[in-house]
Symmetry: C2
Subunit: 571 residues, 2 copies
């Protein structure tokens, strides 16, 4: 591509309304422009990147054996009624009526449409497994679209849906998708982690999110220093470490006037939060008579309760709900001074975290206003109902797979694979005939990649103060050639043209910067745009038979022979 | 692709609701399925074809120098207000509101969005010309969607918009697009004609439609038997042929009681319609005082008035409006018996078609009830104001370029290129600085291809009673290999696998039909799906060292050596 025939739309200033770096750089590099809130037009610079991501995703999906389909953006509301989501989905689901007053939605996802297709087309278990994918426009009417294409209203997804005779077949395709996603993000040149994710309310049995690691990520990812283990922080198991030592101290009541928080109490008593427990008083599930029990949870003073883990315990209500003031009073509990002592005897359920369970001689509330106790020991001073994994993992915790310790980094979710089970196939009646001739409900999986989001995530992971640093596979151009003073020196332009033709013939995606601009303007544009390789053709180099080369991450340019140059380009 | 891992969704019966052959065959071959009125999901079979069309269009657009962009499907209504189309566009423009009650439309086209982008990004004439394209989902809320993807509500368009400093630059890009479209449809393997089209109310200066010729087409295309000339029938010039002979007959009044139509009169008088003129009394444009003149048009009796041509005459009102009964009475005109005699003298404007102008000794109305005249001659018996091209061409007319004669065939419009001029750039204020430092309004062109429609049009042009006959470039698979009795004969399956691997390695898109189905079922599926080459591997052939080959258009299969087979595949 000749720069003179391309649309450069670089901006010197950082736009005011762009909060995150990828949004700023995509605007500044002339990749996207806002059309309306949450709606972006992709300029030629951005579209080149988008189409490269698109091509890699398509290639790997085809390689995996998935079959490409293409479903409408507009979907009849009736199908969403069948799945129950027409009511359940919030205002993110854009509902509208056509000219004949028939209700439709703009598809944020395609489970209903593909399941409808499958129930009509699939007849026999012999046709299974099948995995259908598409790369297609989606719409989600976000209340506050932001971060550019990271959280826009219209976006491009690669979504896939698989159909199976049984769980074993689903697991097989799920594993293939896991490998396919790993290959896709590897080919895209991104530092990513597949992490175990919560299956949440959809109720599937297994789920992994694929996160691009970036300081600006919205999610905390826990992963092992020494193995492949990675999980969302809320999903990572906090394993039991060590054993409880015998009691050495006597149980002692101490005055802690107005010291209600762990931090206050520990400072007041000059003790370590790790040597204390804190109480969280929550509700259990109501019984048939409408009576709602109170459950006391105890964690080590420096640990955080993990709601999702707590909600999995059958004696704790989901969603997690704290006990009311009234409930506390009924049980004679004192907020801020609550300890485990005597609670089981009062008929309360007491669930303690694994880390709290191995403490001895610890500090706890004394169940009296302005009093705590030191030298508290389980069994001797306080009974409990059960030990349970209740907390978020923290850095330094052992990895649950026994290898290495936990590190926590931030990630941007760019992919998600999910064992759906029969949620949609049951709701829409998607059945096929089994080997025994009887109809059965098919099992499903779904697999998504946010194609437009990947572009933003790649930037969040790869930038410096000069601009974007593209991984080679998705750079808008791999190489830029800059002839010096091209408008005065036919010699540099001619040499640039020769190299341009040569590199193109070798399959490189090359930009010949033949614009009538100062070199400084060109250089900063090319750095902002993140072109991996820059080659400057000047008079001196031509005399010396060298090329001035600078990789996008290099601090300095260097003069290279042709062979050296060609070697650099393959890096 | 192994057929056992693919979704076959062929139907034996022709679906009831499919009127046209492409719709029937796309359903029967398992290419598409209806989701709702005018909304279709593309199954794997159809998607393969769609993506091949897509790839050829993208390759040729890139080669032309056009820059790919990607704009949202959802567009703010305000932009459509600026162009005036929010009001002008009918209910085909789907209007809706988002969760914040802001008005949007689902884009049927993107002139407004791209012009908005251009007015923000383009600063100087130096950046021009630029041509932006996208391949993207469009929505048009057709009142009665039909013919499958031929006239669906959601469809895929390649749309392009070019920006220019002047008309000469527009013409240059227009010519490049003309050639690009010709290359695209040639590569797609279609018999097509670029035809001059009416620029209609958009008011641009030049326009060509690209039509795929097919008996089921909605448009009549006039083209030369001996040159490249082609135009919509309503656009083709009817050239003047011959000279008027001298009068030989006397002007004679004849009784023609109740004979009002040309057919009736000619039968009654035993004369040829070609030797008569018929009158069409229409309105001229109203003057400042609101007075509306009557204009008399005369055509040869066997010719049809062309409204579009007539409307181009400054003395004829557009849209074409017939004179009222009252107006006829005011001028003493008698419907059914109107001739040109004496009209100019009465102050009427008389415009006669070229073919009518060279008649002599003809039949015309006598301007009296139940009377006609024979032996009528221009000048001697009837004056006229002007000769003008008023009629539709008919087969056998000379081609306007002087080469060959006119033939008329039906076509399906699949592409349209259009010189927009400044319609949108003016309405939206898209200006750049000129060489003189002063802002000027840019000139635009637009260029569309109905990508989904091309697929249907290709079928309308290429089918037989067995199914689709794909041009090789867009066939879902180029070659199908059928091992006979594969489930009993490992030998045929093994040979099929070997050939499958070999052809794939050579870059062929191959289907290995390893389904556990009878050969007859496979053969009819493959014919229905239109696979260009079929190779059957049987025991006998293996013994003889031959392959049974059948091209999709061949009447019979033939046994070929390996070399002969490979030669066939390159056909």
């Amino acid at each position: 591509m000749r720069a003179s025939r391309f649309l450069f739309a670089t901006l010197r200033e950082t736009p005011n309304d762009a909060e995150v770096i990828s949004h700023q750089l995509m605007l500044r590099a002339g990749m996207i422009r806002k059309l309306a809130s949450g709606l972006y037009s992709w300029l030629p610079m951005g579209t080149r990147v988008l189409k490269k991501v698109d091509a890699i995703v398509r290639e790997e999906m085809n390689r995996s054996g998935a079959l490409e389909v293409f479903m409408p953006v507009t979907q009849p509301a009736a199908l969403w009624g069948e799945s129950g989501r027409y009511e359940q989905y919030g205002p993110e689901l854009l509902r509208f009526k056509d000219r004949h007053d028939n209700p439709f939605v703009l598809g944020p996802t395609h489970e209903e449409v593909i399941t409808d297709l499958a129930r009509n087309e699939l007849k026999s278990y012999k046709q299974l497994p099948l995995n259908f994918y598409q790369i297609q426009t989606k719409f989600r009417d976000e209340i506050r679209p932001r971060f550019g294409v990271m959280r826009s209203r219209e976006f491009i997804m690669k979504d896939a849906y698989s159909f199976h005779a049984d769980q074993a077949s689903l697991q097989e395709t799920y594993d293939v998708m896991y490998d396919t996603y790993s290959r896709i993000f590897t080919r895209l040149g991104l530092d990513f982690r597949p992490v175990q994710a919560d299956t949440g309310s959809i109720g599937g049995s297994a789920s992994h999110e694929f996160h691009v690691l970036a300081a600006s990520g919205e999610d905390d990812i826990a992963f092992s220093t020494e193995s492949d283990f990675a999980a969302n922080v809320e999903m990572a198991e906090a394993v039991l470490v060590g054993e409880r030592a015998s009691a050495t101290q006597a149980y002692t009541l101490v005055d802690t006037p107005n010291q209600k928080t762990i931090a206050d109490v520990c400072q007041f008593l000059n003790s370590d939060a790790k040597q204390s427990v804190k109480a969280l008083l929550v509700q259990g599930p109501s019984d048939e008579k409408g009576h709602t029990p109170v459950v006391a949870l105890f964690l080590r003073g420096d640990h955080e309760l993990n709601d999702i883990k707590a909600e999995k315990h059958p004696l704790i209500a989901a969603p997690l709900t704290f006990a009311t003031e009234e409930q506390l009073q009924q049980h004679g509990l004192t907020a801020g001074f609550c300890g485990p002592q005597g609670l089981v005897e009062k008929g309360l359920t007491v669930i303690i975290d694994r880390a709290a369970s191995v403490l001895s001689d610890f500090v706890a509330g004394a169940n009296e206003v302005d009093k705590h106790a030191t030298g508290v020991n389980w069994d001797r001073d306080a009974k409990f109902t059960e030990v349970f994994d209740l907390r978020n993992v923290v850095e330094g915790d052992p990895s649950p797979d026994g290898k290495g310790t936990i590190q926590i980094k931030r990630g941007i979710e760019v992919g998600h694979i999910f064992q759906l089970g029969t949620k949609y196939s049951e709701a829409l009646g998607c059945k096929v005939l089994g080997e025994d001739g009887k109809p059965f409900t098919v099992t499903m999986g779904c697999y998504g990649i946010g194609v437009t989001r990947v572009v933003a995530a790649a930037i969040e992971q790869n930038f410096d103060d000069k601009g974007i640093i593209w991984p080679k596979a998705i750079a808008p151009f791999e190489v830029a050639i800059v002839p010096m003073n091209a408008h005065k020196s036919p010699r540099t332009l001619e040499a640039a043209e020769t190299l341009y033709a040569e590199l193109q013939a070798q399959g490189y995606d090359v930009l010949l910067d033949d614009r009538n601009e100062r070199p400084g303007v060109k250089f900063s544009d090319l750095e902002l745009m993140g072109i991996p390789h820059r080659i400057v053709i000047g008079e001196k180099g031509l005399d010396a038979g060298t090329f001035e080369y600078k990789g996008r991450r290099d601090a300095e340019a260097s003069n290279l022979s042709k062979d050296e140059l060609m070697a650099q380009l393959t890096r």
